[in-house]
């Protein structure tokens, strides 16, 4: 049983499955695997590798400036997405692909073409490809939006050792070795023949209405988002039948579709029968006789009695059957292999202060044409003084003068942009009485480290402290790390713990910064998490004292809002071990953030975690 291989075979049968994503550990020979796939595809199918550091113009395409300047006419350079048309686009380490590149790949997959609207160019390039992506789950997860356009996702299971899988794959897919042994070539030809036959058979493969309903119901029970997935699951089952030279879909096909399409996207464990039936129309609505759907031609040569039996099954039975298979054949909890239930992937790469690509155009400077956008006017200006001499030189060499301007490579100036996309770190420091003096010193040490890091990365920092009734913004977002340190050094302690007030203030600060163009935020809480002052108390001295439950509710609500707003958080727990009632870990959980226990953690470790 090797799901990765099966997935790739299904894709080879039906490219409209969109692609295969395979999680795999480091050094497992991922590219060998992908290239083995290329070998079983029809001759001449393009196989394009997408490098992780691909630039936008290489990905989408654009004006080939060098050629344009030489020829004096616009020369279009096709991008990687267009080159992969009707072939394979292979991405190694899919989870590390930068988020704008992911968006472009997604866009091309949903359109089947690339819109090139760049540098005065307006073109449409066809771009229908199969995406084959591998990644190491320890690098982070792949964006769900992208996975949604890829039909087949191989579940990552620890039992299923990748190295073993690769051997099977190499054998089964018959990777050509250097010698080109007869039998491997024979094997390769056999696989190719099998795939050819399957492709030919595919249009005749049909599925009963009940099977279709069974798939849809399974998707519902697993809480799969969107309706696109149903189509992928059905296609996968059909392709599986075709691969087995059948024109009707059987149990194994459905199971395979479930495992490769639905389960990896599950957001919940299926709840049996009761719940599902509520969402179902009454069963007698379905005609028990003649279940074949009207628009799908019944296969002329329905082979055996097996199929007939199947047609009598209700969607419920089909669903149950599929679910049973999943539970017995896939290890542990389904949720462990579902990508949808996992944490979101890491946010994009750290912003730079000055770059060649995006943001506000700041200045132009000399540079490689490929490394940025050409600043036209400065380029023309720098070329202008040399025109006469260049023309004379060309005339001497006997070249024809058919351009008004002669521009050489060294004239080219590229634009520099300033980007405000650095991260804003908001430090939220508990200064209440419960912070014993030595804890405070440790906390300050950790913050210092973080500040140092933030300075290196040119991020912004803000500082909020909370004690007594209300939180206070000690330092609005700025790049002045020194000021933050100073404020922290003289921070007095004592009084209640208005945690909710601090959360609210931090969120407001983040929202304000967002309107000024900051897009990434990190909240660093340094607290024991034991909020005991309500929001109202800070705003209105007459307000009745909030109950424990109310405070708890406020904190939960705010944490949910912060996390829903896409703000990352870290909670550094300052509580003494023997006193802890686990408030800080709970806070981290509510925020969807990471948790550190201060006495154990070194300042450097916390800093590293925040920056990663």
């Amino acid at each position: 049983m090797d799901l990765a291989k099966q997935a790739l075979m299904l894709l080879a049968v039906d490219p409209s499955l969109g692609g295969v994503v395979i999680p795999a550990a480091v050094g497992a020979g991922k590219s060998t695997l992908a290239r083995a796939f290329a070998d079983i595809l029809p001759e001449g199918t393009p196989f394009v590798e997408l490098p992780l550091n691909v630039t936008e113009d290489r990905l989408i395409g654009g004006v080939d400036l060098e050629a344009t300047l030489v020829r004096g006419e616009r020369v279009v350079q096709h991008g990687v997405l267009s080159k992969a048309h009707e072939g394979v686009l292979y991405v190694d380490s899919l989870s590390l692909l930068d988020s704008s590149a992911v968006s472009h790949v997604m866009d091309a997959m949903s359109r089947g073409e690339v819109l090139v609207e760049r540098e005065g160019l307006s073109e449409v390039h066809p771009s229908k490809f199969m995406l084959v992506g591998t990644y190491d789950p320890s690098d982070g997860e792949v964006r769900m939006g992208l996975l949604d356009r890829v039909g087949l996702i191989v579940p990552f299971t620890t039992q299923n050792d990748y190295r073993a899988r690769r051997q099977i794959l190499q054998r089964n897919m018959a990777v050509k070795d250097a010698e080109g042994h007869e039998d491997t070539r024979d094997e390769l030809n056999m696989v190719k023949g099998l795939l050819d036959a399957a492709r030919e058979l595919l249009p005749q493969v049909a599925m009963t209405k009940e099977q279709m309903q069974g798939i849809v119901q399974s998707a519902l029970s697993l809480g799969v988002e969107g309706n696109r997935v149903d189509i992928f699951a059905i296609r996968a089952a059909l392709a599986s039948a075709a691969l087995n030279q059948r024109t009707d879909v059987d149990e194994d096909d459905l199971k395979l579709a479930l495992k490769l399409v639905l389960v990896p996207r599950a957001t919940r464990m299926p709840e049996r029968e009761e719940e599902v039936q509520d969402e179902m129309p009454p069963e007698d609505e379905m005609p028990p006789e003649e279940p074949e759907t009207e628009d799908e031609e019944a296969p002329a040569d329905t082979p055996d009695a097996d199929a007939e039996e199947e047609q009598e099954e209700t969607p419920d039975m089909i669903e149950e059957l599929m679910m049973d298979a999943v539970e017995t054949e896939l290890p542990d909890n389904i949720m462990n292999i579902s990508l949808a239930s996992k944490k979101k992937s890491k946010s994009g790469s750290r912003g730079e202060a000055l770059n060649n690509r995006r943001g506000r155009f700041v200045r132009s400077q000399e540079g490689e044409m490929r490394s940025g956008k050409v600043a036209l006017i400065p380029t023309l200006i720098s070329a202008a003084p040399w025109q006469e001499s260049r023309k004379r030189e060309r005339a001497k060499k006997g070249h024809k003068l058919n351009t008004a301007l002669i521009i050489n490579k060294e004239d080219v100036k590229i634009k520099k942009f300033r980007d405000k996309s650095g991260t804003l770190f908001i430090f939220i420091v508990d200064a209440s009485g419960s912070m014993a003096l030595n804890r405070m010193r440790q906390a300050k040490g950790a913050v210092s480290h973080l500040l140092q890091n933030a300075y290196v990365h040119r991020d912004q920092v803000a500082l909020i402290s909370f004690r007594g009734k209300q939180a206070q913004l000690l330092l609005p977002p700025s790049q002045s790390v020194d000021r933050a340190k100073r404020e922290l050094d003289v921070l007095p302690t004592g009084g209640g713990t208005p945690l909710a007030s601090a959360m609210y203030l931090a969120w407001e600060t983040a929202k304000q910064a967002r309107t000024k163009g900051t897009s990434q935020f990190m909240f660093v809480f340094i607290t024991d998490g034991r909020g005991n002052i309500g929001l109202q108390s800070g705003m209105n001295p007459e307000a009745p004292k909030a109950t424990k439950e109310e405070i708890e509710q406020e904190i939960t609500g705010l944490a949910a809002s912060v996390s829903a707003d896409g703000i990352a958080s870290i909670v550094v727990d300052t509580q003494m071990n023997y006193l802890s009632r686990g408030e800080a870990p709970k806070l981290a959980e509510k925020l969807g953030g990471r948790y550190f226990y201060l006495p154990n953690a070194k300042a450097e470790q916390i800093a590293e975690a925040a920056m990663s």
Partner: protein, 383 residues
């Protein structure tokens, strides 16, 4: 859109090789206009998602509503629906071959004189009918292609500075669609906000100075999980439609069947739906004609104002949008007067994204609007 099944890839090699080599695009600029994309999935064949479909239709009836933001789950047909829109759009008149889609009077007002230096008159111009344009703004678009810029080819080959209009020019009097709008680069968002507010695109760069009309219906779609929309941009959208995964088994099976039928033979499928498409188109046209004659009583207006006040909505854009949308909705239903029944149906669409965000509010914005609406209507009954 899923890719159409192309099991055997016989032609793959030839085409791809031609594409791989850098090729010079031939011909003058006009030849580069986009050819029409293949048959889109029919708008009327889309199962469910009524909120989104209605929002789009109301914007065709009255483009001043200010566009639609469609946010929701992945794989629920957001972009399919928007791309299907083109087929049910009516046509407009423009000056023949005008890149800005201007009417005769707009053309005269801007250009004043023809090439010969004489004052332009309506008689000098040829008019043509075009379908309301739907322009796709891809995430990878560069600012110069969006706004228009100096024509690099002409600058390099003949040293002439000429303006090459961008997507904003193409979208004038039409629809501008941005898929994954929440992922759009900030500087492009700034440009859009500017233009959407003024209805005019001003290009002052690289030594050229051009201004041209750019009024369009902004349509954006995205998945909220992937990122938030900037509040200023959010506010620009007239309506906010939400879209969720359909959980009814029969409907989902229906979706699958329709999709497969379409994928197997797009042309035949589009033909099958032609009658429905025509019917909808006619209904929209009728509503457009009816729109100027629709009336609304002061009582309804007062109720709208009260609703917005009770919901604590800042500014007057909320009231204006809800009023226009209610008019369009009445017209779509063939009613001559706007009633609170109409308002009720579209209040959520027009106001959902304008509520102030309260971190402690547990109520869904839609429910809150409904609750306040009931209050407004209830008081009326009492009075």
């Amino acid at each position: 859109m899923t890719q159409t099944a192309s099991a055997a890839k016989k032609t793959a090699s030839a085409k791809a090789k031609a594409g791989a080599a850098a090729k010079a695009s031939a011909g003058p600029k006009k030849a580069r206009t986009k050819k029409k994309q293949g048959q889109a999935f029919p708008f009327t064949a889309i199962v469910g998602q009524e909120e989104m479909k209605l929002s789009l239709i109301l914007n065709i009836i009255d483009p001043r509503i200010g566009g639609v933001l469609v946010m929701g789950h992945r794989g629920t047909g957001k972009s399919t629906t928007v791309r299907a829109l083109a087929e049910v759009l009516p046509s407009i008149e423009r000056v023949k071959d005008d890149v800005y889609n201007r009417t005769v009077s707009q053309f005269i007002e801007m250009e004043k004189t023809g090439k010969d230096g004489k004052a332009l008159t309506a008689a000098d111009m040829t008019i043509e009918d075009i379908q309301v344009p739907v322009v796709d703004l891809p995430l990878g678009a560069t600012e110069d292609r969006v706004c228009g810029t100096i024509d690099i080819e002409q600058a390099l080959t003949s040293g002439v500075k000429a303006f090459e209009p961008g997507l904003l020019a193409q979208a004038n009097r039409g629809f501008l669609y941005i898929d994954e709008v929440n992922l759009l680069d900030d500087h492009l968002v700034d440009v859009l906000l500017d233009v959407a507010a003024s209805g005019r695109n001003v290009v002052e760069r690289e030594g050229i100075s051009i201004r041209h009309p750019a009024r369009f219906v902004l349509v954006g779609s995205g998945n909220p999980e992937e990122g938030e929309l900037r509040p200023q941009l959010l506010d620009r959208f007239g309506l906010h439609a939400r879209i969720i995964t359909i959980t009814d088994v029969e409907s989902r099976v229906d979706i699958v069947k329709r999709r497969r039928e379409y994928d197997d033979d797009p042309e035949a499928y589009v033909k099958k739906w032609d009658k429905e498409q025509k019917k909808l188109q006619a209904r929209i046209l009728k509503a457009k004609d009816l729109l100027p004659a629709i009336t609304m009583s002061d009582d309804v207006l007062t109720d709208i104002a009260r609703l917005c006040m009770q919901l604590g909505i800042d500014g007057h854009r909320g009231e204006l949008t809800i009023t226009r949308t209610a008019h369009a909705f009445a017209a779509f239903n063939g009613d001559k007067e706007v009633t609170m029944e109409h308002v009720k149906e579209i209040a959520g669409l027009a106001l959902r994204h304008r509520l102030r965000k309260d971190p402690l509010e547990t109520l869904d914005p839609g429910e809150k609007i409904e609750r306040e609406l009931a209050k407004v209507l209830g008081e009326e009954v009492d009075a």
